[in-house]
């Protein structure tokens, strides 16, 4: 445990140093830039709640990727599942109008169903024909992207808008603000807690994890490996769909052009940083959200372009993973040396 925290912190520190070196080469002041990043993402109630709200799709897609990778299925389809979830919630919000108590759960269920539908399609192709879900989900991402682009440009287009987008969804489907905090954050936290229990404490989660570690062992032990594969695909698709629904319901309240592109690979990236751990996914998700949120403010007061956040994220992934794996080797070597010394004494 201490090892994991130590190598994680070390990785973040090294990554920030590498990022600082890149800024120095570009002729920017790293300390001022990081200061501005922190100020606009964590400094005060306003920035902090914005960061938390922006972390919702990141954490949920990260959770989706982490659970999938830890259980075996290589579900890289979070971007496609997210836009399908968002589309389903938007459709519901445009055509159904109920009181908020009913409307919000209904739209959330629609979002979950939309995401699960798209991941279920990939799962079905694997089950029925043996097509590798790795490439299938990637191709389905592209198809989902073009399909939703068509939907918002033709059948659901808002005639009054200048760029492709749908009209706003029914007011009763907006996620309410609780004080300064948007309630989608609470739903995200609830999803993390529920998934943690399912994954770490329930029998289903145990079977998924065992299958992920050794599917032959799981099958011989009596797990329904094929059924579990489908279950994991559906659950992870549902999480990504929920992310899409919350983006629409908590944010712009309509399906904007390029909605999915903003979160395309972030979930997978966060799951990789978190080494597929669920609590770690939450931490890294908020961390990445802070970088993204702070970058916009940083651009205003320093002359560093906000795109540096994307470079910083890629550096973070590489360095954190490399540090973790290299640190494991170093720790093992230290432990071995200590044992040898104790034995000699």
């Amino acid at each position: 445990m201490t090892r994991r925290i130590l190598s994680g912190v070390l990785g973040v520190v090294i990554a920030l140093v590498v990022g600082a070196i890149i800024m120095l080469i570009e002729g920017y002041e790293p300390l001022a830039t990081y200061g501005a990043l922190a100020q606009f993402s964590l400094g005060g109630i306003g920035p902090l709640t914005t960061t938390l709200k922006n972390s919702v799709p990141l954490v949920l897609t990260g959770l989706s990727a982490a659970i999938a990778f830890a259980s075996g299925p290589v579900n890289l389809g979070q971007p496609g599942q997210l836009v399908f979830g968002a589309l389903a919630a938007t459709l519901g919000g445009l055509y159904i109008s109920l009181p908020p108590v009913l409307e919000i759960p209904l739209l959330l269920l629609l979002a979950i169903a939309g995401g699960a539908l798209w991941s279920g399609l990939a799962g079905l192709m694997k089950q029925a024909f043996g097509m590798s879900e790795f490439i299938v989900t990637l191709m389905l991402n592209m198809i989902a992207d073009f399909f939703t682009a068509w939907v918002i440009a033709y059948p659901l287009m808002d005639r009054k808008a200048f760029s492709p987008m749908t009209p706003p969804i029914a007011r009763s489907g907006w996620m309410p603000d609780i004080g300064p905090l948007n309630s989608s954050v609470l739903l995200m936290l609830a999803a993390v807690v529920v998934m943690w229990f399912v994954f770490q404490r329930w029998r289903a989660g145990y079977e998924w994890r065992i299958t992920g570690q050794n599917s032959l062992f799981a099958r011989l032990g009596g797990c329904d490996v094929r059924g579990n594969f489908m279950a994991v695909m559906l659950v992870t698709g549902a999480l990504a769909g929920l992310a899409g629904g919350l983006v629409v319901m908590g944010g712009p309240h309509r399906f904007l052009k390029g909605l999915g592109a903003n979160y395309a690979w972030d979930g997978i990236m966060i799951a990789i940083m978190a080494n597929n751990g669920l609590v770690e996914t939450l931490i890294y998700g908020v961390f990445v959200a802070a970088i993204q949120t702070g970058a916009l403010g940083m651009e205003l007061i320093t002359n560093v372009p906000s795109e540096i956040a994307q470079v910083l994220q890629a550096v973070l992934v590489l360095v954190i993973v490399a540090t973790r794996e290299y640190a494991a080797v170093v720790f093992d070597r230290l432990a071995a040396r200590r044992q040898a010394r104790e034995r000699a004494a």
Partner: protein, 300 residues
């Protein structure tokens, strides 16, 4: 008649970047690296091709810049995956993100634009005309007048086959993937073969990227590879890396790519025509999976 020529030339242009990237990926495939960084390498190459061509007004410099750009990613890949032993899948994904982020960043930093950069100062890669062949009806306009990179891709396919299957280098390359331990014990370092395969991959992806931004069109757009690297990965997996098989599959994808553009002329909205190559990839995967299953059944 013109429609057929148009479809075939469209097929060739669509196939070229996928073919080149897949040939590059085939080297790493044989060397036993799960390399998914072709997408990022192509994107880097496409950006640096425009940069080089813009700065020096020469497509040749652009081409060299493109290869250098892809090489940067290959070197990072080597550092993390071969030297530090980081997971190849993770490294590949991170590199693709890095390529997307850094090209977007550099586009803003160097050219001061967001989204798309184009300029009259960019020198595009020329089309090659063969005076005599051009006169042959039907065949002439297809074989002559294509982009230089297209002819390079044809040569590259044969070169790749020769290198992998007919040379000592190719034998060692395949051994690195097939049985690294026995290659190591025979005195050839597997890690060195893997490094060389990644560098070769960068050269090919560099050509592919340069074709995208200096041949197919003369501009750089954010994320302009649009999944072509992933399609090339699918092509490699579908034919187990065989260069001639890759050429065939690439032409098939190219055909669907061209078909999409062709349908657009008939009023099908562009969002649907853009889906066609990806749906074709799914179709190809289906055929592959079925063939695999039958083979397994016959083996029992």
């Amino acid at each position: 008649m013109n429609i057929i020529v148009g479809l075939i030339t469209g097929m060739i242009s669509g196939a070229t970047p996928i073919l080149l990237a897949a040939l590059g990926g085939a080297f790493t495939f044989y060397a036993g690296i799960f390399n998914i960084a072709m997408e990022g390498m192509m994107l880097m190459a496409a950006f640096f091709a425009v940069l080089g061509s813009f700065l020096f007004h020469s497509w040749l410099v652009g081409l060299l810049f493109a290869i250098a750009g892809a090489m940067i990613l290959a070197l990072i890949f080597i550092f993390f995956s071969v030297t530090l032993n980081t997971d190849e899948f993770v490294t590949g994904i991170a590199l693709n993100l890095f390529a997307l982020g850094s090209t977007t960043y550099l586009l803003r930093q160097i050219f001061k634009v967001k989204g798309v950069f184009t300029s009259k100062l960019i020198d595009s890669i020329p089309n090659i005309h063969f005076p005599l062949i051009e006169k042959i009806p039907l065949l002439g306009p297809v074989v002559s007048g294509r982009n230089l990179i297209v002819y390079l891709a044809v040569i590259a396919t044969i070169f790749c086959y020769y290198l992998v299957f007919k040379t000592r280098f190719g034998l060692r390359l395949r051994a690195a993937g097939y049985n690294p331990n026995s290659l190591d014990s025979s005195g050839v370092r597997t890690s060195r073969m893997r490094i060389q395969s990644l560098l070769l991959c960068a050269v090919f992806c560099g050509l592919a990227g340069a074709f995208l931004s200096l041949g197919y069109v003369t501009l750089f757009a954010e994320n302009m590879t649009a999944g072509r690297g992933w399609i090339s990965l699918a092509a490699i997996i579908l034919v187990d890396g065989h260069p001639y098989g890759i050429a065939l599959i690439s032409l098939l994808f190219g055909f669907f790519d061209g078909l999409g553009l062709f349908l657009q002329g008939y009023g099908v909205s562009s969002q649907f025509t853009s889906m066609v190559p990806y749906i074709a990839t799914l179709g190809a995967l289906y055929v592959y999976a079925r063939r695999n299953r039958e083979r397994e059944r016959n083996a029992l």
